[in-house]
Amino acid sequence: MAELTFVRTQMVAPREAPGVSIGIVKWMRENLFNGWLNSILTVLSLYAIYALVSHIGPWFRHAVWDAGSLQECRAIIQATWGEGASGACFAVLRERWQQYLFGFYPSELYWRPTLTFFLMFAALAPILFAELPRRLIWLSAAFPGLAYWLLWGGSIFVPISVYAGVAIAVVVYAAAAGRREGPLAAFAAVAAALVWWAYLAGPVAGVLASTGIGTLTPVQSKLFGGFTLSFVIGVTGIVCSLPIGVLLALGRRSDMFFVKTICVMFIEFIRGVPLITLLLVASFLLNIFLPPGTNFDIILRVIIMVTLFASAYMAETIRGGLAALPKGQYEAADALGLDYWRAMRLVIMPQALKISIPGIVNNFIGLFKDTTLVAIIALLDPLGLTTAIRADSNWNGLIWELYGFVALVFFLFCYSMSQYSQYLERKLRTGPQ
């Protein structure tokens, strides 16, 4: 039986892994010519790529950037590249690119949407990148008012008076919270802000505006168009739908019967209706229900509808993240004495949102692309403009150049969002992997 016993006298020291060749030949063998079936597929794919490039390549190479109409384009291409040659007519973009960017915004005021666009990145930066100084968040907070003022013009006291309502709420809350119960102080704060907005903000802003300080030429909503319109709707929708979605998701998981019922009804109703229906309601029906004489801006109406629509989807995405968290996380937060809102804010939401990042960005991208649906209600978004440009006798017959351009711009922004989300996921990874 002695041969059955075994005692190790020496522990085996770790050794280096066998050398792995990382040459290009090995990579090709593994990925391209791994067996006869894959070799055939590789060859076929190469041919497909060649066929595609050899047809599209000349189209780009023959592109004309300087012409007054499609006929001129074609004439130039025939003259340069011979009879029967085809090519892109990018001259239309050269002529109409400003319209694509700004719609019918007055051309002497183009600097305003442009400035807003770049300010948007400055305002987003502190939200997207935690490394930046926290003080920059004030710029982010000021941006919505600033953007409104720059885009629509008018007196700067209009957005300021709106912000003043928030400031009043904060002051009232701080004053009341010392003496009264928390919910009561919050109620007083909200009431004070509402009173300010409903009765005082308008007259006060009117008086201040009459001084003429900080007044920009007003621009009407019907002049908005192109990517300016897409961005106004898309960015506002994205920024507003996330917090509303969070609240709806929490409401749907709440123990409180009425809160839960309202949230479920809202989500199921909005999600069950096509966005176009909501846009048509915003465009045609809403005015019927509003008191006569109210001038409810069309872009604002569309933004509200898009936001509601997106937040219903967002709520379900976030609810998925909440459901994925182990029950122990909720219990540990409770056991430490954190109240509901602190537990949600500090423990539950950071984890649930992290889990939901792919879904949330999915919603963002979908929402941004859905802004093109406003073409249905005669707003001139990039697709609406494309229809208008194609109706111009000079450019009648162009398809690829126009839609390709719109697609490219959308792709750039959607792809950036996707890349950012992947960066964020990598950054937030805290596990052992």
């Binding site: 122990g328 430490l336 004495g337 109240d339 500090l346 052992p432």
Partner: protein, 265 residues
């Protein structure tokens, strides 16, 4: 609660277990149901300050549910639970107050994976106790040193071993300076080699006079540390005694059977 007569108080806390005169937890005539299922039946239990109680029993006997009722992770439907004289009702203020005075350690640690070890420990002191951040960090480092892992402070829970995570969980609870600690099978999810390091931490805590209730199957720990062992079955306290008597001279047949099962192998 007429069924909780004065005579029952003797059952709730035999005078022999008085470590001090102060009652830390008072449970009287407590009942709990899950739907129609009667999980906890007529529980009477007084815990004196400084007591180290071990609760054992077969699975499904309601022992975890019992200690989870004490900080209201589970709601009881009938009877009274008072912690430090504050009665647990549906009043949220009382619940949060009691929870901040009662530390809890879970079977699966339940550390917050998105926060570092240090942040796990400072979260509740900063947001519940309103301790300034620097002071909270000093307290956290003090307790992390006590559980012997100060060098891990800036790592994330996912990078630690199970035993280390559980010791962090203990430190996290201690940072709230609780007056009572509840342990819900703290070593059940650990490898045998790691159980000892967690038990050592708990023993140290007991020696400092912390009031503890511990649901565990570590009978060695019970014998070494507990001043009272409670045996539960079918949602009831079947037997309670000091450890020596409990293990050497169990009174009820159910207890005898249970002990023979867990000690016999």
């Amino acid at each position: 609660m007429s069924d909780v007569a004065a005579t029952d108080l003797k059952r709730a806390a035999p005078a022999a277990f008085k470590v001090t005169d102060e009652i830390a937890i008072e449970i009287a005539g407590m009942n709990k149901w899950y739907g129609q299922f009667h999980v906890l039946r007529d529980i009477d239990l007084n815990v004196y300050r400084g007591e180290r109680i071990v609760v054992c029993g077969p699975s499904g006997s309601g022992k975890s549910t019992l200690i989870r009722c004490i900080n209201r992770l589970e709601e009881h439907q009938k009877g009274k639970i008072a912690v430090d004289g504050v009665e647990l009702t549906s009043d949220l203020k009382n619940i949060d107050k009691i929870r901040s005075e009662v530390g809890m350690v879970f079977q699966h640690f339940n550390l917050f994976p998105h926060l570092t070890i240090l942040e796990n420990c400072t979260l509740a002191p900063i947001w519940v106790r309103k301790t300034p951040k620097r002071e909270a960090e000093e307290i956290a480092m003090h307790f992390l040193t006590k559980v012997k892992i100060p060098e891990q402070a800036n790592k994330y829970p996912g990078q630690l071993s199970g035993g280390q995570q559980q010791r962090v969980a203990i430190a996290r609870s201690l940072c709230m300076k609780p007056r009572i600690m509840l342990f819900d099978e703290p070593t059940s999810a650990l490898d045998p080699e790691m159980i000892k390091e967690v038990l050592d931490t708990m023993i140290e805590l007991a020696e400092e006079g912390m009031t503890m209730i511990c649901v565990t199957h570590e009978m060695g720990f019970a014998q070494a540390v507990a001043n009272r062992v409670i045996f539960m079955d079918q949602g009831q306290i079947v037997e309670q005694n000091e450890p020596k008597e409990f293990f050497n001279n169990p009174k009820s047949d159910r207890t005898k059977l249970f002990l023979s099962q867990i000690l016999g192998h």
